[in-house]
Amino acid sequence: MLPASDMLWLALVVLGGSLTAVLIVLGVVLARLRDAERRLDERESRHESMLDRLQENEYRLRTIIESEPECVKLQAEDGTVLEINPAGLRLVDANQPADIIGRKIFSVVAPEYVDIYRENMRRVFAGEAMVYEFRAITLKNRVAWMETHAAPLRDARGNIYALLGITRDITEHKQAEEQARRHQTELARVARLSTMGEMATGIAHELNQPLSAIANFSRGCIRRLRSGGMSPVELIEPLEEVCEQAERAGDILRHVRDFVRKSEPHLKPMDVNQIVRAVVKFTEHEARQQRTLVRLNLDPLLPKVAADAIMIEQVMVNLVRNAIEAMSEANSSRREITISSRLFETDFVEIEIVDTGPGIDGSLIDQVFDQFFTTKPEGVGMGLAISRSIIESHGGTVRAESSRDGGAILRFTLTINTQQSSRRERADSIHS
């Protein structure tokens, strides 16, 4: 047994040792804690600088957008303006952002363009980037032409949540373009007229020759008969001349007719739908300018037709242009052209062009294909007449009627290309 003093000593020693151990442990823990704290601090400061940078980036982007001279805006799928830069505010004549943000973009789109605008927006939200023109009426009722480059904006998961639109005022450009186009149209019209005028003058001059010869011979005969002392036999020769000259006049007329008919088509197997698409392309500019929507309703399984593609293009461009012009002249609110292709009976393909214009006056329907028939103030009245003669030279037919809801329907047929029956025989059988 240890004496009590020893016991106490031992107890003290043990206690002291334990305390030391505790102190050591505490020290280690403290040191660890400090380290962790330091590391936390570090991480936090790093985080902060990252946030700073993000903010800086956003600020930079915002500055770029704010100072961008063209209108930049975000639109929701329903057309609500989400954001717009100062240039955009100026473009729509807004005094403050609240004038336009939160409102529908259609409030500044001209009524006749709203449908087309909606359709374009729908395509952007379906993932398409596009460029479109439209007429705008600003908040201060200023009318301007705009061009928008639109692209879909996607979130992190790839969902489209907005339309990013960059829009600029193209009114001046548009006016210049319009002027140029009008000038060109006028030139083309004058050229067409003068060609026809020249032809008419040429024919008139040609015909004048035999006619004046006939008159001179006849007058000479009459004078001699009146003054007497003329044996009738002497009149035979000049009268023969009269007959010859009358025949000559007839020949000239026949020649003119042959010339008009001459344009013989070069028929080849053609895909009618391909021609339709080419025509849509040719007339795209005019259609857009006259705010006309062109829809296609083509049967993809059609057999090939026997056609001179250039001539058929000419006919279709003419028909489509007529439709565009008719709708724009009548100031139709809905301007749509639907071009369809389909099988017709067994030997034909039919192409149909339907518009939403004023249609054709029932009493005039039989005349529209006549030469020199026109309802246009500057028209010559040759378009449909030439179209008909082209279609007929292809062995087809062309018809016009008014649709039930007012527009005009123009239909023409082309013969299906076959090996057995040559186009020639078919055309001849129709002509005779």
Partner: protein
């Protein structure tokens, strides 16, 4: 020899023949030419009449033929026949000295009247030309001294005054004056004055 002739220049042979048939019905002499060049090659400027020309012709046009004749100082009257739409061309031709123009289709009497007038005009011109030529020969037959005497006499000077002016004797002036009257085929001083005025008239 110089019976007036209507010269027809037209590339259209049927028209040319018909014009000949028509114009011959009033007993005028007619010649036809198929081109402007053929006419220039065949025409003798001494022959009277008039020219009937189609404005439009292949090769040398009617207008060009008119210019060629003017350059050669051939003044035969020209009637242009124009087709529809050539009236402006015809107006320019008339301004350039053509006699007249007529538009197809024309009235036969109208054409024949114009032809008659053109032939009459040609005859007048030729008359005048002939007279001038005769006068020119007469004046040319005078000696320089006779010319001087003539000039003073037609100014109304007396023999004596003429003698004084020229430093001749009155007797000598008397002889010159008689010679002038004889050479000029003048019966009186007033005849001489008329001839002198005519000469002045055409410079």
């Amino acid at each position: 020899m110089n019976e007036p002739t209507v010269f027809i220049v037209d590339d259209d042979q049927a028209v040319a023949r018909s014009l000949r048939w028509l114009i011959e019905s009033v007993r005028l002499r007619v010649e036809t030419y198929a081109s402007a060049q053929a006419f220039i090659d065949g025409y003798d400027a001494a022959r009277s009449g008039c020219l009937v020309l189609d404005v439009r012709m292949p090769g040398m046009s009617g207008i060009e033929l008119q210019e060629r004749l003017a350059a050669q100082r051939i003044r035969i009257p020209i009637i242009f026949i124009t087709g529809h739409g050539d009236v402006q061309m015809a107006v320019r031709a008339v301004q350039a000295g053509a006699f007249d123009f007529i538009e197809k289709p024309f009235n036969d009497q109208d054409l024949l009247d114009r032809i008659q007038r053109a032939i009459a005009r040609d005859a007048e011109q030729r008359d005048r030309d002939q007279q001038r030529a005769r006068l020119r020969t007469l004046f040319a037959s005078l000696t320089p001294r006779e010319s001087e005497v003539l000039d003073l006499v037609v100014e109304g000077l007396s023999n004596k005054a003429v003698a004084n002016a020229l430093g001749l004797s009155a007797k000598t002036v008397e002889v010159h004056r008689a010679k002038v009257m004889e050479k000029m085929h003048a019966r009186s001083v007033s005849d001489l004055v008329k001839m002198a005025m005519q000469r002045q008239g055409w410079g």
